[in-house]
Structures are given as C-alpha cells and as structure tokens.
Amino acid sequence: MRQPFKQHSVIPGFGVTLGFTVFYLSLLVLIPLSALFLKTATMGWSSFWSVVTDPRVVASYKLTFGASLAGALINAVFGFIVAWTLVRYSFPGKRLVDAMVDLPFALPTAVSGIALTTIYSRNGWVGCWLESAGIHAAFTPLGVGIALTFIGLPFVVRTLQPAIADLDPEYEEAAASLGAGRVQVFLKVIFPGLLPALLTGFALAFARALGEYGSVVFISGNMPMRTEITPLLIISKLEQYDYAGATAIAVVMLVASFAILLAINAIQWRHVRRINGRG
C-alpha cells in the first residue's frame, strides 16, 4: 500500500498552513513564472532560436558568463582567505570586519552601482591609479567583473565559514604528527574537506552574478556588443515593447540559473551522503 500523504500528528494547523503556503506560492511565484514559459511556447521554435542566437544577444551571454565566472573565481580565492582569517585567527576589529562581509547583501544594488562607478571612473579614488597604469575600469568589461566580484563575495565567505569552523583540528594534528608539512596538511587534509563548501559558495556567487542588474548597469556603460549584460538586453527589449524577445532571453537565463541550482543541490547531496556513509 502507498504510504499516506501525511503522517499522523497531534499538532493542529496542518491544513490551514499548508493550504495557505501552497496558495500564496502559486499565486505569487508559480503562476507568474509559468506565464514566462507559456509566452515562449507561443513563439515557435525558429523565432525563439533567432532571438536567442542574435549576435548582440550572444555577445551579452559571453560578457555575462565570462565576467560572472571571473568574479566568482576571484571570490573563491580571496573569499577563502577572508573566511580562513575570520575563523582561525584573532585580530583587533575582527567582529566589525566579519559584520562588514554582509554589506553587499544589505546595500541596495543601485547604491553599490553608483558608488563603484564613481570609485573606478577616470578620476575616481581607484580609477585614477588604474588610469595612470593604462587600465580603464569603468565602462569596460573589467568594470563589470569588479561589480560582480563585489556582489558575490558574501556567498563564498558565508558558505565557507561554518565549514572551516567544523574542521576538526585533530585530523590536522594527526597528519602533522605523522610527518606531513603544513603545505601537505593543507592540500591533503584541509582543502578536500572544504571543497564542497567552496564549490557551493562559488556556484552561489556565480548564479547571483548571472542575474545581477543594479550594481552593473552604471559601471558597464552599456555599449552594444561590448559591455551590454544579458539582463539589460531584456529591459531594452521591453522598452521597445518586444515582449516575445524579452521573454525568450529571460527563459535562457532562467534555465541557466536553474541548472546551477541543480548543480549546487547535487554537490550538497553528495557531500551529505559521504558524511553519512563515513559516520
């Protein structure tokens, strides 16, 4: 016999809370999102394909994916160092520094956008230094990468921190007492233990960067074929009342972020299974 839908419980309110949850979720999220796919379905394959493979759109994918990947990689390296320092070492002002890491979550994206643009523009605080070295940051793909690094940072740090805190120092001690050097301990004991968390943080930062709009539009300069990100193309299609075109590009982005979400779940699922298998 099939198991019952719900196991018996003395606690009241199951029907009401689950009913409301499903109702609200459907009304606000599921129905609107399905509108996106239904709209695409009315387009026909060939017109969908010609929209999403238009050279200008393809150029925007390249920029969006490339800059997101670069930002996520920078965060994987520096986020690792930040998380390690914040968990393992103590230094004056550490609590404050730790609290600061969440700033990109808390700061509205439009504010970070104009602030970064001002700093990295030709006569900005950092921009003037880069300029004297012959590097243009604002209104170039480099600027897009900088903005996407900014917004992705907390994902890597906050995913790694609990994992580093959970590392049992006994394994490191055991490895060291068996004659492993610090580098060897890091590569063979510490790093493999942190890899699932690092990958998860990297993927979260990457996924967030793909869809990011507010912090990028100001610093990117929005030049077609060069510094135009995919979310901006959706908006410009909408402004020309090209709903079908906007929807087609949105579906491509949505599928990409769902794929990353699945990958994250797969990483975590494998990790949990490994831990349970070991225990």
């Binding site: 606000l28 609107p32 509205p108 504010v111 104009i114 602030a115 994902f155 779940n265």
Partner: protein, 298 residues
C-alpha cells in the same frame, strides 16, 4: 543565501591557529583587510563622501526635495505591504514544513527558494507579461481602468516576489531543528493551538523571525532591478528610492543621487547592526537556556 550566514556562532580561535606560522597569519590578515577595504569599505565610504561633498546644507536640501520625499514615501509604503505579507507566509510555511511529515516536502522547500534563483529583471518581466498592456490580463485591466504595471500595485507585487523567501528561509531550518516536542507537551497539557503558538513556538523562534523580517525589509526597500522593470519611472509618482537614485545619477546630479543613496546606505548599516544584535541575543538566550538545563541536572 542567508542559510549559510544564519545564526552561526562565531567560533573561538582554534588551536590550529598556533600551527600557522606568524608570517603567514600576518600576510593573510593583511590580504583580508586590503581586499575587504578595497571592495567593501571604499564603496561605502564613497557614498557618504560624495553625498556630503557639497556641504550639509546642500545634502539636506536634496533630501527634502519633493520628488525625493515622494520616493521615500513610496518605498516605505511598499515595504509596509510586502514585509507583513511575507512574514505571515513565512510563519505558515515554516509551521507546515517543520511540524509535519508529508510527501513532497523537499519539492516545496525548493520551490520556496525559487525567487532567489531568478534574476531581478526576470522577476519584474513576469508581472509585465501578466498585467502589462499586451499581457494576459492587460485588456481586461484596461477595460476596467485598473493600472498594475507602471503603477504602485506592480511595484508592490514585484517587491513581494523578490522578498518572498526571506522569512521562510530563516524559520524553516530553525524550526526543523527544534522539532515539535515542546508543542506536543503544551497540547497534551491542554493548551489550544493558538496559545501553543504564541507561548511556546514564538518565544523559541523570535530572534530568527526578527532577523528574517530585517533582511526582508532591507531587500524590499532596496530592490532595484525588478521594480525598475514594472515602475515606468514616472517621476514623483512611481519612483522608489533606488529608482530615484538612478534618475538623479543619469541626470548628472551626482550630489543629490548620493544624498538619497546615503539614506539607503544607512538602512544597510542599520540592517547589519541589527543582524549582529539579533545573533548576540540568540547566543545569550542559548547560553542561559543551557545554564538552566545544567542547573536542573544538579
């Protein structure tokens, strides 16, 4: 996103620190401070610097500008509607998911997280597809002279969509961890459903709930991409604060743009401070609970 940052105790320095040589510790701390200083502190400082550059009088004048005040009012209105709706949803979802075992639970949890995976621009777009002039309900709305897109209801809907998971995300893992033994005890002793919720469940989850509301509010007030798509940017009518910042900035009125932005940056700082406070309170509660438990055992 916030799942990882949720209520983690800041761990004490482990003995492992002793094994990293001093030069490495100094180097890594220096890299951390430099990187965070460059990427986080500098943008924050620049907002206030640019806002106050023209003097305090000019700063205040940009804030009491009538368009700026309308934007502040609309932002507050949006948050006042969106946050309570998502608060009620978060409580209901967490109750259903944490206190009961039923089929399809994992799917439901994944679906609740969906808005986090959707680009803000796409979040706005879906409402244009539903309620815009060429959308499903567009003709009907036009016939009845109702405006959702390029009007306040659209802004509220888009904000509700992007802030949808925040409260639920904070509550579900915590309530799952706490289980339902205390509630069962209260019910067996004769308490009603509501009084069990108010007297047993709510005190146990209040800090996580507050934190979820703070995060939800910060995002509701600061959302840019989704709101930008549905608002139509009608100055003095459908401009929230982030959109007003954009308009001023694109008009090269940098000082005024940064003045309004500084209010949003203050909101972000208050959010971060509130987060620290809530985590600290949760730790104190946990410690005192552990203390009573230890006392009872003696």
């Amino acid at each position: 996103m916030s799942g990882a940052s949720r209520m983690s105790l800041s761990p004490a320095t482990t003995p492992g620190a002793a094994r990293d040589p001093l030069w490495l510790r100094v180097l890594l701390i220096a890299v951390t401070l430099l990187f965070l200083g460059l990427f986080l502190l500098l943008p924050l400082v620049s907002v206030f610097y640019e806002a106050l550059r023209g003097g305090v009088r000019l700063y205040l004048a940009s804030l009491v500008d009538s368009d700026a005040l309308t934007a502040v009012r609309l932002t507050l209105l949006t948050a006042v509607i969106a946050v309570p709706c998502n608060l009620v949803f978060g409580l209901a979802a967490a109750w259903a998911l944490a206190k009961f075992e039923f089929r399809g639970k994992a799917v439901l949890i994944t679906l609740i997280d969906l808005p986090f995976a959707v680009s803000p621009v796409v979040s706005g777009l879906v409402f244009v597809l539903l309620f815009g002039a060429g959308g499903w309900f567009g003709p009907w709305l036009t016939a009845h002279h109702l405006h959702i897109i390029f009007a306040v209801p659209g802004i509220v809907l888009a904000t509700m969509f992007v802030t949808f998971p925040f409260v639920a995300r904070e509550l579900i893992p915590l309530m799952q961890e706490q289980g339902s033994e205390e509630e069962q005890a209260a019910l067996v002793l004769g308490a009603g459903g509501w009084s069990t919720f108010w007297r047993v469940t709510l005190p146990n989850i209040k800090w996580a709930l507050l934190y979820g509301v703070i995060l939800c509010n910060a995002r509701a007030m600061g959302e840019f991409g989704a709101v930008s798509v549905v608002s139509g940017h009608i100055r003095g009518r459908t401009n929230t604060m982030p959109l007003h910042v954009e308009i001023l900035y694109n008009e090269y009125n940098f000082q005024a743009a940064f003045a309004v932005a500084s209010l949003l940056a203050l909101l972000a700082l208050v959010t971060l401070a509130a987060k620290e406070l809530v985590e600290w309170r949760a730790r104190v509660d946990m410690r005192s609970a552990a203390g009573t438990a230890a006392g009872e055992e003696k």
